[in-house]
């Protein structure tokens, strides 16, 4: 079943129960965040919850591992890209 989530203010379609990281990698700009130390762009790297490169804000909660979370209808994702 298709659902809709909000990524940085833009509505995006996804399949219900997909991984958030999988959906973010499909976006036109497939980035997750700018690194807090040097602002370099980062994307999901390990897909198994160990590297913490895929951290995004989900429904107001910061630093969520996108590779371990499923998307839900109405989910609000903030990547805070610069």
């Amino acid at each position: 079943m298709p659902i809709e989530l909000n990524i940085d203010g833009t509505l995006c379609r996804a399949e219900e129960d997909e991984l958030l990281a999988t959906v973010l990698l499909r976006q036109p700009v497939p980035l997750f965040r700018n690194h807090p130390v040097d602002d370099s762009p980062r994307a999901a790297f390990c897909m198994m919850g160990v590297c913490f490169e895929c951290l995004v804000e989900v429904d107001g909660v910061k630093n969520q591992q996108a590779c371990l979370i499923r998307v839900k209808d109405g989910m609000r994702v903030n990547r805070g890209l610069k």
């Binding site: 129960d17 997909e18 999988t22 130390v37 040097d38 390990c46 897909m47 160990v50 590297c51 979370i69």
Partner: protein, 445 residues
């Protein structure tokens, strides 16, 4: 007090839980993914229901996990196993104390016995440019595909050698995304010269060996392979654009997606926080742990032996917890897996790229600590990984050293002309995962 806590719902964790039920124990299983399966059977359950076309890409070795997942979920439905999915274990104590948080809130408690089936991860492979978007682990790419995702559009190049890169190259071809080239770092593969010799020596399962060799032959025939590559770097400004390497002279291949792999290692952080004893394995160039009277380690967390061994070791760990004797056929099958692994380890030794890192290569991705800074710290502080960690913050970011502890040991070992074993790992402490003050406050006393 909890009877039995099992951490991880991969092959070892599921098999341990199912076995414990047979002895009248009701285990609690905690796993950080939304559905059971671990890495090897990731999303197998939902793919079977909704995307059978994906099962075809990953073949019978993936599909065969379905029976284990079904048996596990049936026991969960029948109320014989309590299963917390999407739950993060963030504390584990040597005496059985634990805490985790998940969709049902935060829990803390004490278990009489714990089975840690926390699995494996890819060995970090620090190379220049490995933090660029478009660069992923080979295993990561496979999980992404199992979850229904696609690799970035454009050419795919694999840097690495071993069974997993070969398998993924085959699966990518089936998915209509053939790999443009495989670049094998110098020292990564001894398949051509060592295989016949080792084949005779290893009393390994013949079909598994044959499968690996056939796969290697098939992939290597149709994919361009650059062997013995040196000075490998991933190039690109804001995203991966190619791979540059030396093979006599400098060569460069364009690639929008660079998949790197240097074998797999146990996911050591939870095991170390639990205070288990570490032992360095020269064969696998990583640390293995010993179970204690309270905490038992099952599956690849105890040393990389693969899925069939993981299922046996999960069952054996549950038997130990229930004070039952191991089964003879299990012991025999486990030994076979060990000999097969000896062949794999001898054929595809880890390159340990961190040992040869140039001064501007990033070792710690979270704190952006480069090899040069570590070299300077070694000059003044010596090899003590705890002193270097305190001085540089290496390993103190969100991943807590999962992606740099090994690299620090390998790099320090090269600089001081000793083994990573002598350097050792910095101390691992609870919490093993970042945890919010809100979660801490939610805990009942």
């Amino acid at each position: 007090m909890t009877d039995l806590l099992i951490v991880g719902a991969g092959p070892a964790g599921m098999s341990a839980a199912i076995e414990a039920v047979k002895y009248g124990i009701h285990p609690i299983v905690v796993d950080n993914r939304p559905e059971p399966g671990g890495n090897i059977y990731a999303f197998l359950g939902s793919n079977k229901r909704k995307h059978p076309e994906r099962i075809k890409i990953f073949g019978p070795d993936y599909a065969k996990g379905g029976a284990l997942i079904d048996a596990f979920l049936t026991s969960v439905e029948e109320g014989r196993i309590t299963y917390h999915s999407s739950a993060r274990l963030w504390r584990i104590d040597p005496d059985g104390g634990y805490a985790f948080d998940g969709p049902d809130g935060s829990r803390a408690g004490k278990a009489e016995q714990i089975i840690l089936a926390t699995g494996a991860q890819e060995r970090p492979m620090p190379l220049p440019g490995w933090t660029l978007p478009g660069v992923m682990g080979v295993g990561a790419a496979q999980i992404l595909m199992k979850s229904g995702g696609e690799l970035p559009a454009g050419d795919i190049v694999i840097v690495g050698a071993g069974p997993l890169p070969l398998l993924l190259a085959d699966q990518l071809a089936k998915a209509g995304r053939p790999v443009k080239a495989m670049i094998e770092p110098a020292g990564a593969s001894r398949l051509l010269n060592a295989a016949p010799h080792i084949l005779q020596a290893a009393a390994a399962p013949k079909t598994a060996l044959k499968g690996t060799l056939l796969l290697a032959k098939r992939i290597l025939r149709r994919t361009s392979v650059w062997r013995n590559a040196k000075n490998i770097e991933i190039v690109g400004a804001d995203t991966a654009a190619g791979v540059r390497f030396m093979r006599g002279k400098t060569a460069e291949l364009d690639a929008a997606c660079v998949l790197i792999h240097d074998g797999i290692i146990p996911n050591l952080n939870p095991l170390r926080a639990a205070g288990l004893e570490l032992e360095y394995s020269e064969q696998q160039k990583t640390w293995h742990v010993q179970s204690s009277d309270v905490i038992h380690v099952a599956g690849d967390g105890a040393g990389i032996l693969g899925v069939d061994a993981a299922i046996i070791s999960g069952r054996t760990a549950a038997k130990r917890v229930c004070r039952a004797d191991p089964v003879n056929s299990d012991e025999k099958a486990y030994k076979k897996q060990r000999s097969f692994r000896q062949f794999i380890d001898a054929t595809y030794p880890p390159v340990q790229t961190a040992g040869k890192a140039k001064s501007d290569t990033v070792l710690c991705r979270c704190e952006m600590i480069r090899a040069g800074a570590v070299e300077a710290a070694i000059d003044t502080l010596g090899a003590d990984p705890n002193a270097i960690k305190r001085a540089l913050r290496i390993g103190m970011g969100p991943c807590q050293g999962r992606l740099c502890n090994h690299s620090l040991a390998d790099y320090s070992g090269t600089k001081l002309n000793c083994s990573a074993k002598e350097v050792g790992l910095p101390r691992a402490r609870n919490p093993v995962l970042p945890v919010s003050f809100e979660t801490l406050a939610e805990l009942e006393e």
